[in-house]
């Protein structure tokens, strides 16, 4: 493995600390990732050196900040290989991006008796906004189930699509199962029936190269804080034809062309969907985070994380009495598991005492919990700054904790 993780870790100073007197092991990257110094410095630069509101002034720093913000938009466009910069909308995160489409797209295209299709492995962010839209418009929400291995039952997709289906929303990578869905193929099937597709890329973007034109998805969403950027910033990519046709989401400054009390006209893309002062520092820092990731290289990152996943999975299974939820051959570094009869809350609490951070609970995926008939799970999720040594500590901790029950 030519990947130099020791140098990488130096870029993430937060990792060098003790928690509860133990070296901190951060295995909750699917919840949020840590930031490299380059991103931290960029955020600092836009408080210490340059800061002015964007698109709203002609003075020196206003121009400089605006250029940095619009440059970040170009970085994102290039990163996911979108056709035009107008197709890149800055939002506050994946959840807001999905809500934007659920509100705006559905306002125009969803009527009584229509259907929205999602899957059983979605995060609540890719279920609830659609549910709310269906309630508003008298439509029905349906879902494609997954099997006990954690793989989507893709062959059911064409059966579940009807002539009333107006959109299919699907996660690229499931935050619980780690399953990488065959979205290119799913999109092809949906398109053959004239159904547009929204892809939730929150869990995929930090690990997999995305090419929205190649995928031909109609919408693609992701969050900055999961790809080593700050919180409060996210992306909505939408094909020009949809974004042009969709009415605005939030109203206010920036998204207007001309306002009178009789009538207001709206701005063109992308500003139509960027009401108010955006988190421009966040957007600029997101650009830096993406550049950092590209410099490390998504291929080496994916390969290394795969190595961590395989190692961890093998060691965990060797412990015995271990149930792993999600065993698709195509996975990212996410392992949800149950050790013996130990409740995830107990396990997470005790791992924390040993300095190891995992996620426990329902993971914002009630349908996944219901599928397996359980109340909660424990999840370990890796990033490219995690190490084999950390996994060894984790296994030792699990071994020790098991003796307490």
């Amino acid at each position: 493995m030519s990947f130099n993780y020791q140098d990488i870790r130096k870029d993430f100073p937060i990792l060098d600390q003790k928690v509860n007197k133990h070296q901190w092991v951060y295995f909750d990257n699917a919840a949020t990732a840590q930031r490299p110094v380059q991103v931290i410095e960029k955020i600092r630069e836009f408080s210490v050196k340059t800061n002015s509101n964007i698109h709203r002034g002609t003075h020196f720093h206003a121009i400089k900040t605006t250029e940095a913000y619009e440059n970040a938009r170009d970085i994102v466009r290039d990163f996911i290989h979108a056709g035009e910069r107008k197709e890149i909308i800055f939002t506050h995160g994946t959840t807001e991006s999905i809500n934007l489409v659920a509100r705006s797209f559905c306002e125009k295209y969803l009527s009584e008796g229509d259907e929205i299709l999602v899957t059983e492995m979605e995060h609540h962010a890719n279920i609830v906004p659609w549910q709310m839209a269906c309630e508003r418009h008298g439509a029905t929400l349906k879902y494609v189930p997954f099997d006990d291995k954690g793989e989507l039952q893709s062959d059911l997709l064409s059966l579940l699509i009807t002539d009333r289906t107006k959109l299919f929303a699907v996660t690229h990578v499931a935050n619980t199962l780690g399953t990488i869905n065959p979205i290119r193929e799913l999109i092809r099937v949906a398109h053959s029936r004239n159904v547009p597709v929204l892809v939730d890329g929150a869990q995929s973007v930090p690990h997999i190269t995305i090419d929205v034109q190649d995928l031909d998805c109609d919408f693609f969403v992701f969050s900055g804080h999961k790809i080593y950027g700050p919180t409060g910033i996210g992306i909505l990519y939408g094909k020009r034809k949809w974004l042009d046709a969709m009415p605005p989401f939030l109203g206010g400054g920036e998204m207007i062309d001309r306002v009178t009390f009789e009538k207001t006209t709206y701005n063109e893309l992308p500003h139509k969907f960027e009401a108010g002062t955006p988190h421009y520092v966040g957007a600029i820092a997101l650009g830096t985070a993406i550049q950092y990731v590209l410099q490390v290289g998504l291929d080496p990152i994916a390969s290394y994380e795969h190595h961590l996943l395989n190692y961890a999975t093998e060691k965990m299974k060797a412990l015995g009495d271990m149930q792993i939820f999600g065993e698709s051959p195509q996975k990212t570094g996410v392992i949800c598991f149950q050790l013996g009869q130990i409740h995830p809350f107990d396990l997470g609490t005790l791992l924390d005492q040993l300095g190891i951070a995992v996620r426990t609970g329902r993971l914002c995926a009630d349908p996944v919990m219901d599928h397996f008939g359980i109340s909660a799970m424990t999840r370990a999720s890796f990033a490219f700054y995690n190490t084999i040594e950390e996994i060894d500590s984790f296994i030792a901790a699990l071994t020790r904790i098991r003796t307490m029950f």
């Binding site: 509860n20 130990i342 409740h343 995830p344 809350f345 107990d346 997470g348 609490t349 005790l350 005492q353 040993l354 426990t360 609970g361 329902r362 109340s375 909660a376 020790r400 307490m404 029950f405």
Partner: protein, 143 residues
């Protein structure tokens, strides 16, 4: 023992453990020893929902004392539940209303009563107090 005496004895019991893992081992033991509640009581109306673990709380009045029974699906929480029952069960409403479970802080496990939605423990304490308040009001009205 009064509520105060029970809390002090719990604090004393825990003080012999310096290592965190030993404290948790002891809590898990307490959790294991707690009598399971009648399955008929593990119903939604007795459920104090938390995102991380579930707590069921059952209560009844005997004379002027409230008897609580409770259970959780997480063992550490069950251990804390066992301690809360030692403190609050079989007490008059006024005794309950006059007391706070400060022992949790003293034994160093305050994070388990934090107001995040992470477990049902804080909600359980609140519910116990609400029952006490309700019974107190009922008895006042009867007079």
């Amino acid at each position: 023992m009064t509520i105060e005496e029970v809390q002090q004895s719990i604090i004393a019991d825990f003080s012999i453990y310096e290592d965190w893992m030993d404290k948790y081992t002891y809590l898990i033991e307490l959790g294991n020893e707690l009598e399971p509640i009648d399955p008929s009581y593990k119903v939604d109306q007795n459920l104090i929902r938390g995102c991380q673990s579930r707590v069921w709380l059952q209560q009844r009045l005997e004379g002027d004392h409230i008897i609580f029974e409770a259970e959780s699906d997480a063992l550490i929480v069950k251990g804390l539940v066992a301690l809360l029952l030692k403190v609050f069960s079989n007490r008059t409403p006024q005794e309950i209303l006059d007391s706070e479970p400060y022992f949790i802080d003293e034994i160093g496990l305050k994070q388990h009563l934090s107001p995040t939605r992470s477990n049902g423990l804080m909600a359980m304490v609140k519910q116990i107090k609400l029952y006490a308040l309700a019974y107190k009001q009922i008895s006042l009205q009867k007079k």
